[in-house]
């Protein structure tokens, strides 16, 4: 029992208060944030989907544009969640002294980490939502199961936010985040089956790809938007959930270690 208490974060309503603080500040720049994220992924969708897609025949009846769209939903979520939990959280933790201010109130460090991760998750959901709307406009949504994309994106956003917070806990300066993006996020964008099916590669590449969280999210969201049923979705969701919980607990510990001196 005591061991369990030691592992569980000390979270209260304070986490919601921290989330609300971030939401209020977001009101000041939401348009720029949404347009920026959407614009970039729209370029990928149209440039790759229509441009490169004109030369590509995949097996089956799925056009290339349709194939990559769900992956871009997931990647736009990944980017939003990651940026918020690295540059955003780091700014609040260091430059702005926001965390210090909150720590003088009844909120705990765990409330701050949890609130910030939930906020980054919210940003992931917003990005997924705008991308799904775009997909619907292009007639790329085939099934009402698309609504189940949001729970998947929630878990995925939470996972990438937890990773971002871990990197933030380790980061001495903004430059440190270059490692996160060049070693982890950008390669993941290309290796997790967004632009080409992983099944065409050898076992080593496949194994590597399936060890990346984004691959699971891509496969789940693709199955949902194409209406392929839940068979492929559940294992992916389970994988993401277990990884999220582990990474979240690690993030809490590491930010505690950084802040409590």
């Amino acid at each position: 029992m005591n061991a369990l208490v030691a592992v569980l974060p000390d979270v209260s309503r304070g986490a919601l208060r921290v989330w609300q603080r971030n939401r209020d500040s977001f009101r000041g720049y939401y348009l720029a944030a949404i347009v920026g994220n959407l614009g970039e992924h729209l370029v990928y969708l149209l440039g790759m989907g229509l441009g490169v897609g004109a030369y590509i025949r995949l097996g089956g009846d799925v056009p290339y544009l349709q194939f990559i769209a769900p992956g871009l939903v997931v990647s736009s979520s990944m980017w939003s969640s990651s940026l918020e939990s690295t540059y955003g959280a780091f700014t609040r933790m260091t430059q702005q002294g926001t965390y210090d201010g909150i720590l003088a109130t009844p909120c705990s460090v765990d409330d701050i980490v949890t609130g910030d991760i939930l906020w980054a998750t919210t940003r992931a959901l917003l990005s997924a939502f705008t991308m799904i709307v775009v997909m619907a406009v292009f007639g790329l949504v085939r099934s009402p199961l698309v609504l189940l994309v949001f729970p998947v994106v929630f878990i995925q956003g939470f996972l990438f936010a937890s990773i971002g917070m871990i990197v933030t806990a380790l980061s001495p300066s903004y430059f440190f985040f270059n490692y996160h993006y060049t070693i982890l996020i950008t390669p993941m964008f290309f290796l997790s089956g967004i632009f080409f099916p992983i099944s065409d590669f050898g076992p080593v590449v496949q194994w590597a790809a399936w060890s990346l969280p984004l691959t699971h999210a891509v496969s789940a969201v693709r199955a949902l938007t194409l209406g392929e049923g839940l068979g492929a979705v559940l294992p992916a969701v389970l994988w993401l959930t277990v990884a999220s919980i582990f990474l979240y607990l690690l993030a809490v510990r590491m930010i505690r270690k950084r802040l409590i001196k």
Partner: protein, 316 residues
């Protein structure tokens, strides 16, 4: 309306009690076994040069920094396991200005009030009252970056009052402010004290301590060197008055020979000689008689006491 069950609300008359309090950062001992006792309704000052351990002490009191050793009770509660309950009842004005630059002045209040679960309409009302109290009316809609340094500091004090704390901790509240802003903050802090708020502040401005504090401790290198009421400390350890003169070391002996009696103590620092005495008028008359210029006769201050106690070498 108390947000806490009656059983864990502190009722003690001693608002802060520390015994053998220790804080180490690796091999550095920042706070080295201090005892403190702050009574309800008083203004208590932590004085000391940089690195004395003032901020570390305050951070332990508001639960931002765990104790290395010792006991610390705040509002009758043990800081080790009642951090949230304690923080609900105290206000903190930290050394760094940590207002939220993403938000306006009013939003800063409302956001902060929410951390204390204060309902929005009440928070709005209190924010307006506090803006008036700190002479910031008309600034509610302004973004933080548009405020001057003094305004930010006043806002920081105001924000720390939004939940009506019974204990207010202030870490160097007026460092870097112009005299107007400093005096305004002092006025307001005295007003809060009259309303029954207990104030615990750290400062290295001796005038600030003399203006505000009923009792002070002087800390140096993590230890408490002395405790007492500011006036008493000065009179007991320094004397009532000081005569300052600029005189070269070679001429010192000849000059002192002109002063009758020995009811004074001497200290030299650089080009200045300090004579501490209760009979300074006689000293000044003797010096004037032999036409010594550059004589400054003034009352002894807490600063004289402080420098006497902690030495004059720089602390960085």
């Amino acid at each position: 309306m108390s947000p806490l069950p009656e059983s864990i609300v502190g009722t003690s008359e001693q608002v802060v009690v520390a015994q053998g309090l220790v804080k180490c950062f690796g091999s550095l001992v920042a706070v080295d076994g201090i005892d403190l006792s702050v009574s309800r309704g008083e203004c208590y000052g932590l004085l000391g040069p940089n690195g004395a351990g003032k901020t570390s002490t305050l951070k332990m009191i508001y639960g931002a920094s765990p104790l290395t050793a010792g006991e610390l009770m705040v509002l009758g509660l043990d800081v080790r396991n009642h951090a949230r309950a304690i923080k609900r009842q105290i206000g903190v004005v930290s050394q760094e200005t940590n207002l939220d630059p993403d938000l306006t002045v009013r939003q800063n209040f409302l956001t902060y009030a929410r951390y204390f679960d204060l309902p929005a309409p009440e928070a709005r009302q209190r924010a307006d009252d506090l803006l008036t109290f700190m002479e910031l009316s008309g600034k509610a809609g302004v973004r933080i970056e548009q405020l001057s340094g003094g305004m930010k500091r006043r806002l920081l004090v105001a924000r720390a009052l939004i939940h009506r704390p019974t204990l207010l901790l202030l870490d160097e509240p007026t460092t870097g402010l112009d005299p107007q802003a400093r005096h305004l903050i002092w006025q307001r802090l005295r007003h809060l004290k009259r309303q029954g708020v207990t104030l615990l502040l750290s400062t290295h401005y001796m005038e600030e301590a003399a203006q505000l504090c009923d009792r002070v401790v002087v800390m140096d290198r993590g230890k408490i060197v002395v405790e007492g009421c500011p006036q008493e400390l000065v009179e007991r350890r320094v004397g009532r008055e000081v005569v300052e003169l600029r005189v070269e070391k070679e001429e010192e002996a000849a000059l002192l020979a002109q002063i009758p009696g020995d009811a004074y103590t001497i200290e030299r620092w650089g080009d200045t000689l300090y004579l501490f005495s209760d009979r300074a008028v006689e000293i000044v008359q003797a010096l004037r008689a032999v036409r010594v210029e550059n004589v400054l006769h003034r009352p002894a201050t807490l600063e004289d006491f402080f420098l006497k106690l902690t030495g004059r070498e720089l602390r960085e």
